[in-house]
Symmetry: C2
């Protein structure tokens, strides 16, 4: 996480409305409408803030009928609570990874799905990081997470399973604990340091 990223993240949290939103989401997940009512703000304003919060990863969103349910990203906070645990997926060592990500991602969205295998692997690994290791996901949850990146969730899901990045049994998915085929991947320790101060911050700020 470089300077710009940190500034971006801080700027995102440094707003009264968004702090109040985080406080509400810390109690329970809520829809946009609920947040708008609770804060006395218009729907466009809420939409604006939620887009920012989701973009930096503090909030997760799942479609639910015509509504969209927003929830605090528990993974970050849990990582902060157990600062010794290494709860993140091992880093990606492919030197072209960053370039691929830059080319194919537009924020959280995927501009397109790469045709070439190497770039597709980069994109899939990047998507894999949105899943919490150890947690089990229903197929709908997997779809919801992937839909933040691209509409063809079925293809992405199939690819993730084919590459063994996601394991599946019945309708339940989870991150493969020892991901295969990750080029030159030496599983270096990434203690939850980065997530730790973020989570600590969010906890502290939200708790008041």
């Amino acid at each position: 996480m470089d300077l710009d990223a940190r500034v971006h993240l801080l700027k995102t949290i440094a707003d009264a409305t968004r702090l109040r939103i985080l406080g509400l989401l810390a109690e329970e997940p809520r829809s946009g409408r609920q947040l708008a009512e609770a804060l006395g703000l218009g729907a466009p304003t809420i939409s604006h803030h939620m887009a920012r919060l989701v973009e930096v990863g503090i909030v997760r969103v799942t479609p639910d009928g015509t509504r969209r349910l927003y929830a605090l990203n528990a993974g970050l906070l849990d990582a902060a609570a157990a600062p010794a645990a290494t709860a993140t997926v091992a880093p990606i060592a492919d030197p072209d990874h960053a370039r691929h990500v830059r080319i194919f991602f537009d924020g959280p969205r995927l501009r397109s799905i790469p045709a070439k295998r190497k770039a597709r692997v980069s994109v899939l690994l990047e998507l894999l990081r949105r899943f919490e290791p150890g947690r089990r996901y229903a197929e709908a949850e997997v779809n919801a997470l992937l839909r933040e990146a691209h509409d063809d969730v079925a293809f992405l899901r199939r690819e993730l399973v084919d590459y063994r990045y996601l394991a599946r049994e019945g309708g339940v998915y989870w991150v493969n604990p020892d991901v295969p085929d990750r080029d030159a991947n030496e599983a270096q320790e990434v203690p939850a340091g980065e997530a730790a101060w973020l989570g600590q911050l969010v906890r502290g700020v939200v708790a008041g």
Copy 2:
């Protein structure tokens, strides 16, 4: 610390230039000129940022000849490092305290020194909070800290000592560990919680 204060503090840190300044000050104290050179910015810009950082208490300033030396407020960071310690001065329980502070303070500055004893006590206790308990101060340091509030530092210093808020021996001052005469003061526990997340944040952000 209410919502607005937290937002204000976050907004203060959420700036690339100020984060770089904090990073530099984490290494060693520096003057405004040094910071301007290191960052390639104009003197007015540095002055602007330093005023903000000092106002929120992350940075301390001491005059040094024609220069002003800026240093990270070690107290906050130390409080974060030992999260169990209660390193802050006991809170002020006088119900009129907040009103007095609002009336007589304009940011860190004192509009005037209250003539009435009650209000003056409030102001003095508020000033006392700018000192780190346990730390020993040279008279020049005491003056420097008080000068941020008002030019008549001699009067303020004498009052602080007269009220036994500051103890003195030789030329050395320190916060009286058991402050007397603090109306209805039941020394409630204020674990360094607030400072903790701030310090944790600064540490994390600065360390990268």
